[in-house]
Amino acid sequence: MLQLVLFFVFGTIAVAAAVNLLAQRHPINSALSLIVVMASLAALFLLMGAEFLAAIQVIVYAGAIMVLFVFVIMLLNAGAEERTPGSRVAMLLGFPAVVLLAGSLAWTLLARNPRPAPVALGGGFVGSPTAIAQLLFRDFLLPFEVTSVLILIAIMGAVVLASPPRTTAGAASPEPPAKRER
């Protein structure tokens, strides 16, 4: 029962924040809404026993990726978004299509009428760090290593892309001191 209440609370928060993400014009508000979505998803993860993932969700998503977003918004001093004819077309066509998509997805999922999973609060299945680590470093070792390479490449790519064109040399090191005057 408690679980259902918590699900609805955090689910509502997540959906409301996601709607707010769309409604807000200024990117920084959208970013903050997304952080709220992520935090409530982390709570939902906890409900489903994915405690390691919940913590990682907060640390990596909210604490690192979204900080990067906020940082870039601050750096570029991006202002409020402007409406253009293109956005109006997207609104007219996109909304019905998406409502259709969401509706069909929900119908498909609910029509199956699955049994409620009978897992009580505090019971057995836990995605503990140890369990995940064992899976990650045995069965998924190759993908894990591949992702580390991916991250490395991403770092290098980001540095290359974001570094300004080489026009001004950085802080020049002082030249060797000139000869004494006399």
């Binding site: 699900f7 769309l22 978004e81 897992v119």
Partner: protein, 100 residues
């Protein structure tokens, strides 16, 4: 006692909202955030399935999604900075040429 389908429906709603955002928003950064929202929705589905089947594989996949999202965010935001530097705008309608 939450049915698995509730989680999946929530995931579907969040995913759809992400799609809506991707379609109607005009700011590059917000677009990017919509993509992140979709990824999060997928993560939720993954965790829900993992819970249903009592298998951690789903959670491990979420882990990989996060890694990819982090890499994507780093590169994507770097591209946005580069675009902003040349175009001085973040509106996708004005950033319609592939050439920087």
């Amino acid at each position: 006692m939450v049915p698995i389908s509730y989680y999946l429906v929530l995931s579907a709603i969040l995913f759809s909202l992400g799609v809506v955002g991707f379609l109607i928003k005009r700011n590059l950064i917000t677009l990017f955030m919509s993509i992140e929202l979709m990824l999060n929705a997928v993560n939720l589905a993954f965790v829900a399935f993992a819970w249903q089947w009592k298998s951690l594989n789903g959670q491990v996949f979420v882990f990989f999604v996060m890694v990819v999202a982090a890499a994507e965010a780093a590169v994507g935001l770097a591209i946005i900075i580069a675009v902003f530097r040349t175009r001085e705008t973040l509106n996708v309608d004005r950033v319609n040429l592939l050439k920087l």
